[in-house]
């Protein structure tokens, strides 16, 4: 091989190897870190896996928020106006968390059918509804027609 060709071969091999490495890294991390979204009806129907980190979204049911008196534990129900799911969370809720407000919770389903949230997200604009919730509500409405 001429030195020039050798140089080119090295470059190409380097590029192929590097690309493969990065694609591998990206695919692996993506497969590990994707959180699927489930509506409360899907969860109530048992479609959500137990023990896997997922996202659940819906409206906080009026009058459902119950606080523990001696810790930061809180329990509330989420709904898509069809079926409800009970959520448990320990910690500080976001400022815009309110009854009747749309929220998204991240966490896992436990064996008793309670959603154990480790993160609760409420958005900072009261007219705003996370696209996931808006769509699952829309599907409901269409299905009812």
């Amino acid at each position: 091989m001429t030195p020039k060709r050798k140089k080119r071969l090295t470059i190409i091999l380097g590029l192929v190897f590097g690309t493969a490495l990065i694609v591998g890294l990206v695919m692996f991390s993506l497969s590990e870190n994707i959180n699927l979204f489930y509506s409360t009806s899907q969860i109530a129907n048992g479609e959500a896996p137990v023990g896997t980190r997922i996202r659940a979204g819906g409206m906080v049911v009026d009058g459902s928020v119950k606080r523990s008196t001696d810790s930061l534990k809180v329990q509330f129900a989420l709904t898509d106006y069809e079926q409800q799911v009970t959520v448990e969370f320990t910690g500080i809720l976001p400022d815009l968390f309110r009854e009747g407000q749309g929220i998204i919770a991240q966490g896992k389903m436990d064996a008793n059918g309670i959603f154990q949230a480790d993160e609760v997200l409420a958005k900072h604009d009261e007219n705003y509804m996370p696209p996931e919730i808006a769509e699952s509500m829309k599907k409901k409405q269409e299905a009812q027609k």
Binding site: V26, L30, N33
Partner: protein
């Protein structure tokens, strides 16, 4: 009356930018000097009318003119004046007006500070900027005019600005960020002008470089301010969330960083020309994509507000036209662009190429993670989100490897360097940084920590190589002070920016490893121990602000029995929308922050949920960001860029 003047000025600005988009461009194509010379006055006129329009909106805000829909929705008579004025960009319409206004400002700056530019080049650059302005101002007028009125009857008082935005952060963060976003339009316009004229020489790279560096510095500063704002305002003590909108600002910054380096190689050595053009096109396209992501509400994000799809569609069309048009032009013209020199394996050119590859790969992985949920949704495969662990897993190793290359790059010369010289220069910094990295976790933490070892070693490596190289410059110098002055500003800028990267990396490493945090229920007299500090809750009392009422807590902090500071976190209730806001209180320090935020009252105010953080070295994150931006600005002060007349360099491609 005033808002109508604003609207009218906007229409005139649209007209002027349309003329600017057409006439000088046509003049440049037909070599008509008169037509080309219209570019400057048109740029000035466009800026003047955008300024009038902007002032009119500001006036409407300051006068509480609630007959204007936008003002009524984003302001309130009780709001302090500085927030009334920054509320101009507190919503969709106004922030687009700011976007267009800053664009006209950049256009004006190019027309004023480019005396050394050949007339045809200037005409083309300004025309391309005119095209962009035409797109954005028509977007404003068609879908999102901030001057529309409530007629015939209007609300007595405004609906108030989102309390999160009633903060110093809103005053500085969006303008800085937009200065950066929109600033890349200059680099973009230079690239398009170069493709059109076929003129892509050292002089071109030099003009383009200073504008790019300024825009890059502003964008970096904007991101830094955003991170700092999120840290103290959102009340979770986080400084980066891998939120889609943060990613949207990070991507143009990464590509812009690659562009800054690639332009340096193009200027100094005449290499990577077509690559530089492509980066300039992508940096601006990603800025537009960022605007689209923020404004369309397609992704779940802290920044996403209720918005209508028509607007998102309009920006998507602008993006498609910009990318489609410029890439088509690139496809036709770029094959004519020839790079000039050759270089060996171990040369600054290759190291800059490595830097570019890394930065581009990072931008692509961030893009992938950000758009993946949209893609999956479009394919109908369900709703997903990509979590921060993805970004960390991909971003951190690439960033670390790149930092190793950064150290080598300052030690090698253009064209060729012998391996021996490089090893001679680098073995000592390498040994020192690895050693310090090994010792540090024992000294600072409780024991060896692999992440800390890597983070500290790599950061020290970047710093020590820069310093070694700097000292090496004086080895053969006769006088220290003369040599100090001889070194170009761009060299100092590079040093500062590289050290900035290392400082940020140290901050990220330490704050993510050694932070401590507790969420706890506290009644009066309760105390909690964290990282050697004792936080004593001494109850709350009510305080009144200009447009809110707050419960303010008093928390005393002791360190092994001695008083450190008293913190006053607040829980505010804003009068108009009745929404709650957490206002954290922070004792900031170079080596650690103490951060306290109130959750909600428990048992009818008998106790409170309290969040306590200990954040070591968190300030270093932003300090590094500021150093990088300063470095970028310093390069522009270089003598090379201040020549009033360009030297005749007829290196036409």
């Amino acid at each position: 009356m005033i808002p109508e003047i604003g609207e009218f000025a906007l229409i005139i600005a649209l007209f002027l930018s349309a003329v600017l988009a057409l006439v000088p461009m046509y003049g440049a194509a037909t070599v008509n000097e008169l037509w080309m010379s219209y570019a400057k006055p048109l740029a000035k006129g466009q800026f003047l009318f955008m300024l009038i329009s902007f002032i009119c909106l500001g006036y409407a805000f300051s006068q509480d003119d609630f007959s204007v829909i936008y003002v009524a929705q984003h302001s309130n008579s009780q709001m302090p004046i500085q927030f009334k004025l920054s509320a101009i960009w507190g919503g969709h319409e106004g922030s687009l007006l700011l976007w267009a206004f800053i664009l006209s400002g950049w256009t004006l700056a190019v027309s004023l500070f480019s005396r050394s530019l050949p007339l045809d080049m200037l005409a083309r650059v300004l025309s391309v900027m005119g095209i962009i302005a035409t797109g954005f101002i028509s977007f404003l007028l068609v879908t999102s005019s901030p001057f529309l009125r409530y007629l015939p009857s209007f609300p007595e008082d405004g609906a108030d600005l989102n309390p999160l935005l009633q903060d110093f952060g809103l005053i500085v963060h969006p303008p800085m960020l937009y200065m950066g976003y929109v600033g890349f339009s200059v680099a973009f316009s230079f690239a398009i002008a170069a493709l059109l004229s076929g003129r892509l020489d050292t002089a071109w790279a030099r003009w383009s470089r200073s504008w790019t560096n300024i825009a890059w510095a502003f964008l970096g500063l904007g991101i830094t301010l955003g991170s700092w704002w999120a840290y103290y305002e959102l009340g979770w003590g986080g400084w980066w969330f891998w939120d889609p909108v943060e990613n949207a600002s990070l991507m143009p910054w990464l590509v812009g960083t690659a562009l800054v380096h690639s332009l340096a190689a193009t200027e100094k050595r005449g290499v990577f020309k077509s690559w530089t053009l492509l980066l300039a096109i992508f940096a601006f396209s990603l800025s537009l994509l960022g605007t689209f992501l923020v404004r369309s509400g397609v992704l779940t994000s802290v920044h996403a507000f209720a918005s209508d799809p028509e607007r998102g569609f309009f920006i998507l069309m602008l993006l498609a036209i910009t990318m489609g048009g410029s890439l088509t032009l690139y496809a036709f013209k770029a094959p004519n662009v020839k790079s000039e020199s050759n270089f060996s394996w171990l040369s600054r050119e290759v190291l800059l190429l490595v830097n570019n590859v890394f930065l581009t790969v990072m931008a692509v992985t961030v893009l992938l993670g950000t758009l993946y949920p949209l893609l999956i949704d479009a394919l109908g495969a369900g709703k997903i989100s990509v979590g921060p662990p993805y970004f960390n897993a991909v971003f951190v190793p690439i960033m670390g490897t790149m930092a190793v290359a950064m150290g080598i790059s300052v030690a090698v010369r253009w064209r060729e360097t012998s391996t021996k010289v490089v090893i001679d220069k680098l073995w000592l910094p390498a040994a020192i940084s690895i050693l310090c990295g090994l010792i540090f976790p024992f000294f600072y933490g409780s024991g060896f920590d692999f992440r800390v070892f890597i983070g500290i070693s790599v950061s020290l490596w970047v710093i020590s190589t820069v310093i070694t190289e700097f000292i090496g410059k004086f080895r053969n110098a006769q006088s220290f002070s003369i040599k100090l002055k001889q070194l170009p500003f761009s060299y100092y800028g590079m040093m500062l920016a590289h050290i900035g990267v290392a400082v940020t990396a140290i901050g990220i490493t330490l704050v993510s490893t050694y932070s401590e945090e507790r969420d706890i229920r506290m009644a009066k007299g309760d105390s909690v121990e964290l990282a050697g500090y004792q936080f004593i809750f001494q109850g709350t009392h009510v305080v009144k602000g200009p447009n809110y009422v707050a419960d303010q807590a008093t928390i005393e902090v002791l360190e092994s029995g001695t008083f450190v500071v008293t913190l006053h976190p607040e829980k505010r209730r804003y009068n108009v929308k009745r929404n709650m806001m957490t206002e954290a209180d922070i004792d900031a320090g170079l080596f650690r922050d103490l951060y306290v935020a109130l959750g909600e009252p428990l048992n009818n105010g008998e106790a409170w949920a309290v969040r306590v953080h200990y954040k070591p070295y968190v300030r270093w994150l932003w300090l590094g960001g500021i150093l990088m931006a300063l470095g970028g600005l310093l390069t522009v002060a270089d003598k090379r860029y201040r020549q009033s007349k360009a030297e005749p360099e007829d290196a036409y491609v």
